[in-house]
């Protein structure tokens, strides 16, 4: 994929210099790697929750009532795998599991939160653009 292309394109000073575009490892593009993960349906939501404070499995489940048990487990495991959150098991009875954000996760949440703030601030503009577009298409 266009890993190098992406890098070059973001360099706004230089002209676009497309390099070696066909031979690049698709799975190794950092941007695609990040977007495909947080692009999931629940990842950002859980990151927002855990950015505030640690939560237990059941707490997260109650906070996001329309997530299935399966997707909560899976999304948490994926976030843990990428190093954004930690998982700690307390051998109580019944057992309880707490999830908390790592330093890496917190450093991700900085720029991520900026983007989310943009989304909220400009949501009306986007919706208005959609209405205009749809009306112009008959």
């Amino acid at each position: 994929m266009s890993a190098r292309t992406v890098v070059n394109l973001r360099n706004t000073e230089a002209p676009p210099r497309v390099v070696d575009i066909s031979k690049l490892d698709f799975t190794n593009c950092p941007v695609r790697d990040l977007i495909s993960q947080i692009g999931g349906k629940w990842s950002v939501l859980l990151l927002e929750a855990l950015a505030q404070r640690p939560y237990r499995f059941g707490e997260l489940r109650r906070m996001v009532p329309d997530i299935s048990q399966r997707m909560l487990t899976q999304t948490l495991r994926d976030l843990q795998r990428d190093g954004y959150i930690d998982r700690e098991v307390f051998p109580t009875k019944p057992p309880s599991v707490e999830y908390r954000m790592t330093d890496l996760g917190r450093s991700l949440y900085g720029p991520l939160a900026q983007l989310l703030n943009w989304a909220e601030a400009n949501h009306d503009a986007v919706r208005a653009a959609r209405v205009r577009f749809d009306q112009s298409q008959d």
Copy 2:
């Protein structure tokens, strides 16, 4: 969906106050709305390209050789619909179509680029975390 929950969760000062979580309009959550759009496979890539300068359809196609014609057309139309890019048709022969970023798109690209920079800067850390996780799971 949890539109309000998201808002409250990002307010790091107050305790989590989950409000009216089941009755919210799923489609009206700004965060979900943005993430589901730019979470697409090609959106960010095209935004990066057009953040630099306007491009014609065929130019974009050559820059991203592994995108299908269909997905290029569709992704561009979606970005246009949300107001991030403009489309201008030049009635030459054969016709040519140019895409350029709008002011709204440029304002989005600010925080977005910060996130992408984070992705590149921390890609090694994420990959290392993955290796650790996979090895700890037998």
